[in-house]
């Protein structure tokens, strides 16, 4: 029985690594800045999920790390998942949103000043500006 669980977990981990790589690939190859932010987020989601899986336990009555009185303390200890990755990911999710806001603001400001969010066009415009002065 434990083999099935192990196999499922391995499969999930491999898919999550594939998704992380997909996110990096999108960031590298897509020219649009907004699209880059979307792909960066997909990568971040995959990494957060991997973090949570590190703290998961392969035991059957599995509890979230919130102690309730009607479950005995021994039973809680034998079934609760590791709370540390959850605490780390919790802040990472909210800070990631603030970082998104910062990145998106840069994209919007680039569009206001240079009329494009395509990094290739932006490189052209900036190179021209450097040669000829603003």
């Amino acid at each position: 029985m434990m083999e099935t669980a192990q196999f499922m977990l391995t499969y999930t981990v491999v898919v999550l690594f594939a998704m992380m790589v997909l996110g990096i690939y999108g960031v590298v190859t897509r020219p649009n800045m907004i699209k880059k932010v979307i792909m960066l987020n997909i990568m971040g989601d995959a990494i957060n999920m991997l973090f949570i899986i590190i703290g998961y336990r392969l035991v059957y009555p599995v509890f979230p790390p919130v102690y309730e009185k009607h479950v005995g303390f021994r039973e809680f200890l034998s079934g609760a998942v590791d709370p540390l990755p959850q605490a780390l990911v919790l802040t990472a999710v909210v800070i990631g949103m603030a970082m998104n806001i910062l990145l998106v603001t840069y994209a919007i400001q680039a569009h206001r000043l240079y009329g494009t969010t395509d990094v290739r066009d932006l490189a052209d415009v900036l190179g021209q500006e450097r040669r000829e002065g603003p």
Partner: protein, 85 residues
């Protein structure tokens, strides 16, 4: 019955992967955003299966609500279509 939880998790993560692949292939940014928020919804389900209620509370509000609204605002202020090949 841990197998059941892990099977649900595997299915949810696979769907998330498929939708994020579609989001990468899409040249219309609004459609790509919609596909990536479907992926976020699946991942919220995945966090619930992994016994992380704190993360679900924060992640659902951020990734499905605030993030989507922010990106729609950004797309409406810049360009809707990614100039692709």
């Amino acid at each position: 019955m841990i197998e059941f939880h892990l099977t649900v998790l595997a299915i949810v993560v696979s769907f998330g992967f498929v939708f994020s692949y579609l989001a990468m292939k899409e040249h219309d940014l609004l459609k790509a955003l919609a596909l990536s928020s479907v992926q976020s919804t699946f991942f919220a389900l995945g966090f619930y299966v992994l016994a992380a209620p704190d993360i679900v509370l924060a992640y659902l509000a951020i990734a499905v609500g605030a993030y989507t609204a922010l990106m729609i605002l950004a797309i409406s202020k810049t360009e809707r279509f990614e100039v692709g090949k």
